[in-house]
Amino acid sequence: MELFANLALGMQTAFSLEALLFCFAGVFVGTFVGALPGIGPLVAISVTLPLTFGLDSTIALIMLAGIFYGAQYGGSVTSILLNLPGTASTAVTALDGYPMTRDGRAGLALFTNAAASFAGSSFAIILVMAFAPAIGRIAMDFNSTEYFSVMVLGLVAASTLSNGSTIKSFAMITFGLILGLVGMDLNSGAQRYTFGILQLTDGLSLIAVAMGMFGVAEIINKIAAPDSTATQRGAGGIGLRAMLPRRDELRRFWGPTGRGAALGSMVGALPGAGPSIASFMAYAVEKRVSRDPGKFGKGAIEGVAAPESANNASVQAAFIPTLSLGIPGDVVMAVLLGAMMMHGVVPGPAFISNEPAMFWALVVSFWIGNVMLLVLNIPLIGLFVKLVSIPGRFLYPTVMFFICMGSYSINNSTFDVYVTLVFGVLGYILLRFGFQPAPVLLGFILGPLIEENLRRSLVIARGDPMVFLDRPVSVALLSLSLLLILAPILRHLVVRWRGARHAG
């Protein structure tokens, strides 16, 4: 078997003492950096990058990649415990993770996070091992029309994202789409909604908007009651028993984790689609397939398992388009790509066949790194959970400090701190009147992709709208979107028809 020969090749490097050491260093730094609100892997990788020049390039990449996926584990900690997501993908985890903390089930939520992350990553790694070259090819055949259709599907699927008023949820998605317009228009170069501010030319920073609408808004919400801890009921038990899922909870763990992993791998393999889209879509799918959608947003274990499994799977799968096409899924991946180029690794279709030792060592190290992360994270749960019992008068200034530093570090500029401020105040006011922030982020991420691909499709087709119905994948995706829109109406009709028959 060629696969086993390849794995053996990879293990030679990945199990060397040096590789294990740097892999551990990477995931360790990643976990902690990810756990700090607002800091994230971007800064950590940018800083570590110059330090890796002296290293062998495979070892350097093993460590830098470790920081990247390690941060995905750590990133969920503050969103579960404090409702402070550092990235858009963990904002989804906060939807149910934070209610679990409020119910005194923080330990279980963190355990679910670690276990689902591990399962999602493992699934995607196996997929990468088995199909990497093929996936790269398929992704290349995905053109603008298909991108447009898949993004529309994402938007439709996610319209069910938040609880409460549907109208307000739609209003917030639209608000996100509008925020996505800000900056220089890709197609025409026209400035839109930039008020003549140079820093807005590249658009608003997703991280600054997310930290404002979630982090700052949450602090404003809590600051008035200083001696309360983050949750009224405290951390709950932190012993092993409180952490491990009960049998019925375990049953509810596998389905969402499996679906999340599959969906995350698919989204991750698409060039240019980052982990945020994966977690939003996985959450939406679970809410669709659940027999009891009402429990989402109130601490459903499915609402933590699915997005975490999906975003970790997508991060691992995203190495395929990054390595084989040179197209990064998000900013962090872009920096990682730069790191590769700096080490003389040029991504391309022949990367796997030209550099088999490096590719397979990297893939094997992913798995080693994930095992390390699991082993590292489970004992840390006890420590992390204590965070919520810190009195507010210490906790909130500290978190605010990290938010400030985090938004400052995006571009080494105070401009993003002002953006965080504006969206913090706005987010708080909106939240108070029942407008949820999560759909804003979704619209913000998908909006530019939808517009860009629609316009590009039409430019290339020279204005013929039938282009969207020319290609089978695009047709299938658009039909699915239509079905999702019509489903509630159809269900309603069926129920009425059955009722009428019974009555008759």
Partner: protein
């Protein structure tokens, strides 16, 4: 000599604002180079390589700061408003020092009056590539197709050097060529490979793996001198007379710098560019380098602004 001076004395000298004395001793403190693009971009890699070498030559630490935004205008603007003491520099590019002035309506700086050019540190020509499965074997095939049924070309965004190079091909050939901007060059490249669009201009090193696999075919190179990593590709100047476009990098500081300080930095940059480490990096990344005299820099920028400005103007009808 200056290494023996105690930091305390130096601190006092700076505090007194002793500019003239500082010029003789330059540099005594960390030199900061602002990279007006993100970490990991070609500009970033070039800056770090050249800067590290300069740090060795001058014996002071160099710090690199990424300040991306608005095609490099944000970072460049920050540097042109800094103290012209030689401690704050920027890595200029064909974009920040030549193209942006014709593309951005309210560019907050003038590359000819607000900048002290320090050293030309390298350039790269770009390749005109088409899909390996397409019927285009030569530039003439492409032009014929454009005149017959119309073709499309990709770029890494509106007003980028790749976009303008495509527009130049359009105006010079008189064919029907429609521009489809992508948010990154790599995305445009996959669209070319899958034949969603017909052609684009792309960096030789990034295109090379695809050329070897047969996914792409290079029909021409934008610079008159050709490309060292793809020596077999004919220059576009063979088809379109005088076609000579390159993407270049130039170390620069704010206007009003002491000439002695600028020349010290200039020499250090040349020495760094001569080093083994930088040479190897340039070779693996397809970057070309020819030294340029300190006194030629201003004229070079002026001629580039003129060249790209004319292309942008001719393309005007398409650049909404």
């Amino acid at each position: 000599m200056n290494k023996t001076l105690s930091p305390l004395v130096m601190g006092a000298a700076v505090a007194l604002g002793a500019q003239a004395a500082a010029a003789d001793d330059f540099p005594t403190d960390t030199v900061r180079i602002v990279v007006p693009f993100g970490a990991g971009t070609t500009t970033d890699l070039v800056t770090r390589q050249v800067g590290d070498g300069m740090s060795e030559v001058l014996g002071v630490p160099f710090a690199f700061e990424n300040r991306a935004g608005a095609g490099g205008s944000v970072g460049t603007h920050e540097v042109v408003t800094a103290q012209p003491d030689g401690y704050t520099l920027s890595m200029g590019t064909v974009g920040t020092l030549a193209i942006n002035v014709s593309i951005f309506e309210d560019l907050p700086y003038d590359p000819q009056t607000d900048v002290t050019p320090i050293a030309f540190v390298g350039y790269t020509p770009t390749l005109l590539v088409v899909s390996g499965e397409s019927d285009y074997e030569t530039v003439d095939d492409l032009v014929a197709a454009a005149q017959e049924r119309g073709v499309t070309f990709a770029s890494a965004g509106n007003g980028t050097s790749g976009h303008l190079a495509g527009e130049l091909v359009r105006t010079r050939s008189g064919g029907d060529m429609v521009h489809a901007p992508f948010s990154s060059g790599a995305e445009g490249l996959t669209a070319v490979i899958s034949q969603e669009v017909d052609f684009m201009f792309y960096h030789p090193v990034a295109a090379l793996p695809y050329l070897e696999e047969g996914d792409l075919r290079a029909l021409g190179v934008s610079g008159e001198g050709g490309s060292s990593v793809a020596p077999d590709v004919p220059p576009l100047a063979e088809t379109f007379e005088g076609f000579d476009l390159i993407a270049w990098f130039m170390l620069a500081g704010p206007a009003g710098m002491d000439e002695e300080v600028a020349r010290t930095l200039h020499e250090a940059a040349l020495e760094s560019l001569d080093s083994e480490a930088v040479r190897t990096h340039y070779e693996t990344n397809g970057l070309e380098y020819e030294p340029m005299d300190y006194d030629e820099l201003d004229d070079f920028i002026a001629s580039e602004i003129e060249l790209w400005g004319r292309i942008a103007e001719d393309a005007g009808a398409q650049l909404d």
